[in-house]
Amino acid sequence: MTVPPKLSRDRVAQLTAADIAPGSYINIGLGIPTLVAKYLDPAKEIVLHSENGILGLEGLAEGDEGDEDLINASKQRLQLVRGSSIVEQALSFAMMRGGHLDATILGAFQVAMNGDIASWSTGAEDDIPGIGGAMDLVVGARRVIVVMEHLARDGRPKLLSACTYPLTGKGVVTNIYTDMAIIDVVPGRGFVVRGIAEGLSREALQAATDAPLAYADEVAVLSAR
């Protein structure tokens, strides 16, 4: 038996980036999402938001040490772009919660077919809990885009009929980009596949998903690169 074809993390990030409209204001979270920034077309002037009050960030130039007061939510040092702004954190969260961000791109432990997302705690006994800005982002951004591996490390599905871990938000996820597929969460229909990794069968995708999958009228075949 051959290993089922999966997209690389970079390819998933690239597909996600291609789907962001020009001029969007977006927030990018930890994990694979951080790769998304790399693939955003500069000509699209997509403005990155960081919860600590910055709009308009980009990676440091090679060799630049950066500044401790210019970091993102992952606490990485970044630099300001032309046109950036810095505000107090309460106003930054007003942007997030108030529906002003076009999209938030974040990782997750689990996503349910009703749009529920679990991303902050596995509920394990000795887990140190931490919420940060995730609950504000998912409740407020116009699009909530989850970028993650389709299966957990132990091989269990992360796309479910219902989340089993503590929720970050209820009925909020709009799109999911995984190493196997691009899936929209459609109210009333659940998971609707609009892209599938080249060489991956619908049966194999369904087997990796713990909830029924519907398919869009047009389903893109996602090449490995």
Binding site: P22, G83, A94, M95, L101, V139
Partner: protein, 221 residues
């Protein structure tokens, strides 16, 4: 490329339709977007709900918009400045609706709308006629009134400098209602003295970031 610059005042106000709710910045004459108001008058939209601290003075600007019968409903804190003759006549004649709100509650209701919050308890107006018919609660020994977010379809705001992303500064106390109105309106339209190249406004000096702004226009455009 992000370009929020409207070529003319006329273009800037073009999307405003009959029946729209429109926030207008200003505290007396300070921070009042005169040129945008004139453009709105020329544009012709009517049946408006206007949300602004005062209700116009003299015979120009907001007073003229009122005199032309374009405003169905006025939401404000203080419509009785000296010279608010047009509003007074319309009000006494029963030809305009008035929702009177304490100024701090008005600001906070707009901020709540812009910040994605729901209703909130404020002590302002507790025990007065403002609280009548509203949910009230004692918290920490003090009386509070529940107030709801106040959003609008449009905001007409006076800024000072803007860039093509819509990043804004204001002039002195002309700042006033601008920041909360830009947050609370679906479409914030801002007139400025000058449009400057992107990057010219220092990031820490931006008062209202472009994310809240739909259109900027020079006041003489």
């Amino acid at each position: 490329m992000i370009n929020k610059i409207a070529p003319t005042l006329r273009d800037a106000v073009a999307p405003i339709t009959d029946g729209a709710s429109v926030m207008i910045s200003g505290f007396g004459d300070s921070g009042l977007p005169r040129e945008l108001i004139d453009a709105l008058i020329a544009h012709g939209a009517g049946d408006l709900t206007v949300i602004s601290n005062n209700a116009g003075t003299g015979e120009t600007g907001l007073a003229r918009l009122l005199a032309l019968g374009r405003v169905r409903r006025m939401v404000c804190s203080y419509p009785k400045s000296s010279g608010s003759v047009v509003f007074a006549e319309l009000y006494r004649a029963g030809r305009i609706e008035l929702e009177l709100i304490p100024q701090g509650t008005m600001l906070e209701r707009m901020r709540a709308a812009g910040a994605g919050l729901g209703p909130f308890f404020t002590p302002t107006g507790y025990g007065t006629s403002v609280a009548e018919g509203k949910e009230q609660r004692i918290y920490d020994g003090k009386g509070f009134v529940l107030e709801e977010p106040l959003a609008a379809d449009f905001a007409l705001v006076k800024g000072y400098h803007a860039d093509r992303w819509g990043n804004l500064t204001y002039r002195l106390a002309g700042r006033g209602f601008g920041p909360v109105m830009c947050m609370a309106a679906k479409t914030a339209i801002v007139q400025v003295d000058d449009i400057v190249p992107l990057g010219l406004i220092p990031p820490e000096s931006v008062v209202t970031p472009g994310i809240f702004i739909s259109r900027v226009v020079r006041k003489d455009a």
